[in-house]
């Protein structure tokens, strides 16, 4: 009796109290709001564009740019188009991010290990570095390197030199440039062959160890192959690579290659800043491996180096990889601060100069955002793949 009345009651829940109806209504309201908001924006945009007489569309990409860029990885002149200027900027962004990630990782890992060192003075110094650098805004650090350090360097005539081939001066770091003759292809092929050989060697040795238990000195022999093969090829093909040195002529250095100060300041700041975050990630990752693991490995008779390589690092990596990915993404996105010191990356050349010249704010900002969004998505896809590869395989 009572059961049936309750049933009746629940059937007579008022419409506005039914969770399904509520959910449906709130979603419809949300969608309606988004559509209305989008429509408002679009109609405002259309009327503003018409009133201010601004061109629309992506036709401007093939118009002549008419400005020069200080650092170009692909051929570019003032007669090139805005599209090419965009490509130059994009490559410069990728260049500084790639090199930055490489060095920040090395420095960060070293610092992270140093913070855990038993050596008191080393641990304290590493802690001081991390706590100082990560609490100071990156933009301030970029200005510091650009204005206060690189900005007060001597003119090229009084450049500080190292080994008579590296010259540090106000206009950058001049250094020798490798020139590749056509026969250099042989050296490149030798290098590729060496890499393939090393891959096969490590697979073979692992199989042999699993089958017989015998170990093979993989690391040393791989190193030998990687160095010996290209060197032999280099001399056999008649030394096809030589260096072109920078020479001071008049007021500036000619020949060789010169890293512009904007690039160095940005790279330095990005590397030093991001390394302090990576150090913390590495430290947390290593600390996450429980002490029992190291002790058990020691009890099995593994040497300290083996414990580190085969027990601690594989487990620490699982903790380290996800936050490390977001640091890599942060570094890439932070490279857009280049705009502050006019390093010609995609932000400065495209969203800065091209935007000023064409006035097509919407198209240009959207393209720039899409670039960073794509880089972010690609990086996280790659790192997710890598993360899945090293993830714990459970039963």
């Amino acid at each position: 009796m009572s059961v049936s009345t309750e049933k009746d009651d629940s059937a007579r829940v008022p419409l506005w109290n039914d969770p399904n109806v509520r959910g449906l209504v709130s979603q419809i309201v949300l969608i309606a709001f988004i559509v209305w908001f989008g429509y408002e924006l679009f109609s405002n945009y259309a009327s503003n564009i018409a009133k201010r007489n601004i061109a629309t569309g992506f036709g401007f990409l093939s118009t002549t740019a008419g400005f020069s860029i200080a650092q170009t990885l692909i051929p570019y002149t003032e007669e090139s188009s805005y599209g090419q200027a965009f490509l130059v900027g994009l490559l410069n962004t990728l260049l500084v991010s790639g090199i930055g990630i490489f060095f920040a990782t090395i420095l960060g890992v070293l610092l992270g290990i140093a913070r855990l060192s038993k050596n008191w003075i080393i641990a304290k110094l590493a802690t001081m570095y991390v706590e100082t650098l990560r609490n100071i805004p990156l933009l301030l650090q970029i200005y510091f390197w650009y204005v206060a350090v690189l900005g007060v360097l001597p003119m090229p005539r009084n450049a500080a030199s190292l080994l008579d081939s590296f010259y540090l001066h106000k206009r950058g770091l001049s250094m020798p440039k490798p020139i590749f003759d056509s026969a250099a292809v042989i050296v490149l092929l030798a290098l590729i062959a060496a890499i393939v050989l090393v891959v096969f060697l490590s697979r073979w040795s692992r199989k042999r160890q699993e089958a017989t238990g015998e170990q093979f000195p993989v690391f040393l022999s791989s190193l030998g192959i990687l160095i010996a093969l290209p060197v032999v090829a280099y001399f056999l093909s008649g030394s096809p690579i030589h260096l072109e040195y920078s020479v001071l002529k008049g007021f500036n250095f000619r020949g060789g290659m010169t890293l512009i100060p904007e690039f160095m300041a940005l790279l330095l700041a990005l590397v030093l800043y991001t390394a302090s975050f990576i150090a913390e990630i590495v430290r947390a990752g290593i600390q996450a491996v429980s002490h029992g693991q190291t002790e058990a490995a020691g009890a099995l008779g593994l040497r300290p180096g083996q414990i580190l390589r085969q027990v601690v690092i594989p487990q620490a990596l699982r903790v380290i990889i996800p936050p490390l990915t977001s640091q890599y993404l942060n570094l890439t996105k932070n490279s857009s601060l280049a705009a502050a010191i006019a390093y010609p990356d995609v932000m400065h050349t495209f969203a800065g100069i091209v935007l000023n010249q064409t006035g097509q704010a919407v198209e240009i900002i959207l393209i720039t955002m899409a670039v960073y969004l794509t880089i972010s998505l690609l990086t996280s896809m790659f790192m997710n793949w890598y993360n899945a590869k090293i993830a714990l395989v459970e039963r």
Partner: protein, 382 residues
């Protein structure tokens, strides 16, 4: 049986040998425990010996504390009174420009309004942060709802007989704090809503939240600021003009909202299913479940993440100078163009001064987060 040969008294306690305790042992264990460690220690000491005296000399001994212009900070070659190889910090620059670094171009006679806003804010914050002080709820209500109104009236004026001060005359630490605090106050509640949206069972809610979060998180803040300063005006209806500072505030707030949402989502995911089911069994509605059961636990878990986001936001406020708003770093950059203060040491010491201010704020926040984390770490400690 006699036991005369058994000793009745304890032997006197000897101090431990120096090889297992004391400073010598400590040094041996911590600094020279192996050949590699010894090399590292010597290397570190060498680096310290090379750098520290020079640094102390630059920062304190040679430093110019008082001067009317940059001439005193120049070596002889630049026309200064110092020897040719002299270099020292030019603190007098920061001293002379201190008012500019604090308030920007805010009129001198009206700076008491900024000070008053700051004092009210600081008192409110202290009342909130020190736990032994009661009436937290009323202080929080005051700080979240009343204080922003008071701050707005005091800072911008234009009513109650207060002279109107345009935002392009604001600057320095004032702008840095306005941007940071607005971002923090807006991003926390919006971030919680977005995080709930992302975990919602309603597909449209979830999709909209995911889209919003991932787009903002995938782009650098500076593109957002560019968007706010050059693209946003094109989307506004005719006749509506947003102040430049306000546009940047919107950009910064939306950007940090996305990050905050991800932090909060981490906390929501860490709450076990039983808590949701328990709340449902008690007959609580969705909002009561979230407000009374889930969020208090989830937010407690992610306090370090929230504070980290705040620290990141505080450092990111410097970016507004790229779109032409004078924050602390912006006023420093502007001050450095003053020809009167030109010297080889001005820029370096100005940057060190600014870095010290930012560092103090960020470091204090991170210490407070560690303190709170320990304080709130109840129930799971073994």
């Amino acid at each position: 049986m006699s036991d005369h040969y058994i000793r009745k008294e304890d032997a006197p306690l000897l101090p431990p040998p120096s090889s297992v305790a004391g400073p010598v042992h400590w040094i041996r264990e911590n600094l020279f425990s192996g050949w590699f460690n010894s090399i590292m220690t010597l290397l570190a000491i060498y680096v310290l010996v090379v750098t520290v005296p020079g640094l102390v000399e630059y920062l304190f001994i040679n430093a110019v504390w008082d001067s009317v212009d940059g001439k005193a900070c120049r070596p002889a070659a630049g026309g200064g009174p110092n020897p040719a190889d002299w270099s020292g910090a030019c603190w007098s620059f920061a001293k002379a420009k201190f008012g500019f670094f604090m308030y920007g171009f805010y009129p001198d006679a009206l700076r008491w309004r900024v000070d008053l806003t700051g004092v009210i804010g600081a008192v409110g914050l202290v009342l909130l942060l020190i736990e032994t002080i009661p009436h937290k709820r009323w202080t929080a209500v005051f700080m979240l709802f009343v204080y922003p109104v008071i701050a707005y009236i005091l800072l911008s004026g234009g009513m109650f007989n207060l002279e109107y001060v345009e935002t392009n005359r604001w600057g320095g630490i004032l702008v840095t704090l306005v941007v940071a605090i607005t971002g923090i106050v807006v991003s926390l509640p919006l971030g919680i809503l977005l995080a709930l949206g992302r975990r919602s069972k309603m597909p449209a809610m979830r999709f909209a939240s995911v889209l919003f979060i991932e787009i903002w998180r995938g782009v650098p803040l500076i593109t957002v600021l560019f968007m706010a300063s050059v693209m946003l005006p094109l989307f506004l209806p005719e006749g509506v003009h947003f102040d430049k500072l306000l546009r940047c505030l919107i950009g910064v707030a939306l950007f940090s909202t996305a990050y905050m949402a991800e932090v909060v989502r981490g906390g929501l995911q860490a709450i076990v299913r039983g808590q949701y089911e328990g709340a449902q069994a008690l007959g609580l509605s969705y909002w009561k479940t979230m407000g009374l059961i889930i969020l208090p636990q989830a937010l407690k878990l992610v306090i370090p993440g929230i504070v980290n986001t705040f620290i990141g936001l505080f450092k990111d406020t410097t970016l507004v100078l790229i779109v032409g708003i004078l924050d602390l770093l912006g006023t420093v950059q502007t001050g450095l163009t003053d020809a009167k203060w030109f010297s080889p040491n001005t820029a370096t010491s100005a940057y060190i001064f600014t870095a010290a201010i930012f560092w103090a704020f960020c470091f204090a926040m991170s210490r407070y987060s560690i303190y709170m984390e320990n304080k709130l770490h109840t129930g799971h400690k073994r």
